[in-house]
């Protein structure tokens, strides 16, 4: 089935005087993995809830699988919320059974790694295993569109890789996936990105589109701790990457002055900025206004 799976057209949502989502338009096509980025409070969860039909829009329209997001259309949707939506006091097998019956699908088999723990209560399972069970439950009815809210938060590298395997596998089979994440590394695994800030969609597209015109300067020095302190004290948007210091949207000349005044020797080099730096700059702009 081709056609747009999820669509928002100039969607706005207000809660009293507060605008949570402001004139956002986006879509998710079959076979693509779209990453939704943004600070907490940026409006990501509110947007998702409107796309799923759990929350009404104040203005604009949403489409789920070409129609209104009602129960019929949600049958073809797989959703894993941040809280996983599993019953802690049921076993893994029982959870899968329940969800299969609810969607009228076949019961998914547990992978070999979990099969031995099928009768363990979900709340006794480690987080990575819980997430796997939640995934299985959401995928059992072969949904055409998947919405995942921070699917890998708190999970270790190996389990994260395994979960992304599943996600990409679904996309390869033609499903469309909308993912929110705070791991910038995962943002790089998406086909397309959407960046929200303060309810607005400030950028979309590839990683380069998201980074936009943000610049960065890398500061390499022996006393990284002192350099960090000096730049921080001067109010520069400083970040650490590895052991190198990076400053976003900065003028190398000004930085050099600050460092020299603090008696620190360092080399400054303009480098390509990262998504995090864009978000840091956005956050500063928001708090300054």
């Amino acid at each position: 089935m081709t056609g747009v799976l999820l669509r928002a057209r100039q969607v706005t949502r207000r809660f009293g005087a507060f605008t949570a989502v402001d004139d956002v338009s986006m879509q998710v096509q079959p076979g693509e993995v779209v990453g939704l980025l943004g600070a907490n409070g940026a409006g990501k969860t509110t947007l998702i809830r409107m796309l799923l039909g759990l929350l009404a829009v104040t203005s604009g329209s949403v489409e789920l699988l070409g129609g209104v997001p009602d129960r019929e259309h949600r049958r073809r949707l797989g959703y894993v919320p941040q809280g996983l939506g599993l019953y802690g006091d049921l076993t893994a097998a029982e959870n899968l059974l329940f969800s299969a019956r609810a969607y009228d699908s076949a019961v998914p088999a547990l992978p070999p790694a979990l099969a031995g723990r099928a009768d363990v209560l979900v709340r006794e399972l480690p987080l990575g295993a819980q997430r796997q069970v939640a995934f299985l439950a959401a995928l059992a009815h072969s949904p055409e569109v998947l919405v995942l809210d921070e699917p890998t938060s708190g999970v270790d590298a190996l389990a994260r890789a395994a979960l992304w395997d599943t996600i990409r596998g679904q996309a390869e089979h033609g499903a469309g996936v909308l993912v929110t994440t705070h791991y910038m590394q995962e943002a790089q695994q998406c086909d397309r990105l959407l960046l929200m800030s303060n309810g607005k969609l400030v950028a979309q597209g590839s990683e380069a589109d998201i980074i936009g015109s943000t610049t960065a300067v890398a500061v390499r020095t022996g006393d990284w701790a002192q350099a960090f302190a000096a730049l921080n004290a001067a109010g520069a948007p400083v970040m650490l990457a590895g052991r190198a210091i990076r400053v976003a949207n900065a003028d190398p000349g000004e930085l050099h002055e600050v460092l020299t005044a603090a008696g620190i020797q360092a080399t400054l080099q303009p480098v390509p900025a990262t998504i995090e730096e864009r978000m840091l700059v956005l956050a500063r702009e928001a708090s300054a206004s």
Binding site: Q82, Y87, E150, S153
Partner: protein
């Protein structure tokens, strides 16, 4: 959906226990304990020819005290100390029968029996002359309110820390477990005390319930009783993981006290097999104190038994609760493995 709910129910042992045990408990209680009819009354006979008078009394009046040299004042003291339900004063015609109005059902049975004797006996009901139910209930309800606040609300208050995950932080700070407990129950102590004063005043004003005794003794009894119920609240919180569980457990402690403490059904009328439960309940003893002081103006010495029992209960419960609480707060055997909260949900975390 049905299958899932059944599965969850089976695993939720506390709810299951409540659903199964509660009907059984109610059946047993109503079967054996619910009895408004008192079968025999503790009686005293005071005055000249006491033994002869005693011998003439029907077996309904179980004579436990005879004082040939006693006077009417002695008879009143016996009643005030709640040693007997009825005291006959001989040596005049008609014989004077003083009835202890603070034991409502006993008094009602006594009056009914004495009325059959016609004008051989002059009946006088002390402490609750009109045999009003409210006069007997209000002192008991004061105790019930203290139990309610103490047990249910304290247990929720403590469990809140556990649910919010902040218990761990308290454990690592230089604050002693006893300080945490005291800090946590102090507000409830105050609230309960204020509540008690309001209910007592309202009882007196609205229902005309007397307050014949020493208010300081009453306050002391209430304070000790509060400690028992607050201690129970703390204890319940140490065995509960969620507020829901805490409320269920507290309810389990509360219901027997309502039914078996003598508040509704008189203790003397219960079958012996069930009556002993009543003697284990703190509310039973506080009701003795509150009824004694408010209705009979009883001196604290005559109430030594409930005071001592409550003090012992307070010590036992508090020690047990503090020890369990210390286990949660301080290192020792780890109480449970550290398990991660599923999904780093922002402001709400579940244990």
């Amino acid at each position: 959906m049905i299958v899932k709910e059944f599965r969850e129910l089976v695993r939720d042992r506390r709810t299951l226990g409540l659903l199964v045990m509660m009907p059984l408990l109610l059946l047993v209680i109503f079967g054996y304990a619910a009895n408004f009819y008192v079968s025999s009354l503790k009686t005293a006979v005071v005055g000249p020819q006491a033994s002869q008078v005693a011998a003439q009394l029907p077996p309904f009046f179980n004579v436990t005290v005879t004082q040939p040299s006693g006077t009417k004042a002695d008879a009143e003291t016996l009643l005030q100390d709640n040693k007997v339900d009825v005291a006959f004063v001989s040596g005049q015609t008609p014989v004077l029968a003083l009835v202890n109005g603070s034991n409502l059902f006993a008094a009602q049975s006594a009056v009914a029996a004495l009325n059959k004797a016609g004008n051989k006996v002059q009946t006088q009901v002390l402490y609750n002359p009109d045999l009003k139910t409210s006069w007997v209930m209000v002192p008991a309800i004061i105790g019930l309110i203290l139990t309610f606040i103490g047990t249910i609300i304290t247990s929720i208050g403590m469990v809140r820390e556990r649910e919010a995950g902040t218990l761990e932080q308290l454990a690592v700070m230089p604050i002693k477990p006893s300080q945490v407990i005291l800090g946590k129950i102090a507000p409830y102590f105050l609230v309960a005390a204020v509540d008690m004063v309001i209910v007592t005043v309202l009882g007196i004003v609205l229902f005309g319930v007397p307050f014949n005794g020493n208010p300081f003794a009453f306050a002391l009894g209430a304070a000790i009783f509060l400690f028992v119920t607050l201690g129970l609240g703390v204890f319940i919180s140490t065995v509960s993981q969620t507020a829901g569980q805490a409320i269920q457990t507290a309810f389990f402690f509360l219901l027997p006290q309502i039914l078996l403490s003598g508040m509704i059904f008189p203790l003397e009328a219960m079958a012996a097999g069930v009556r002993w439960i009543g003697y284990l309940l703190p509310l039973t003893y506080f009701t003795m104190i509150s009824q004694g002081i408010m209705l009979r103006g009883a001196p604290i010495t005559s109430l030594w038994l409930p005071f001592v029992v409550l003090t012992v209960m307070a010590l036992v419960v508090f020690t047990g609760a503090t020890l369990r609480f210390r286990r949660d707060l301080a290192p020792g055997r780890p109480a449970s493995p550290a398990h991660k909260q599923p999904a780093a949900a922002e402001s709400v975390s579940t244990a």
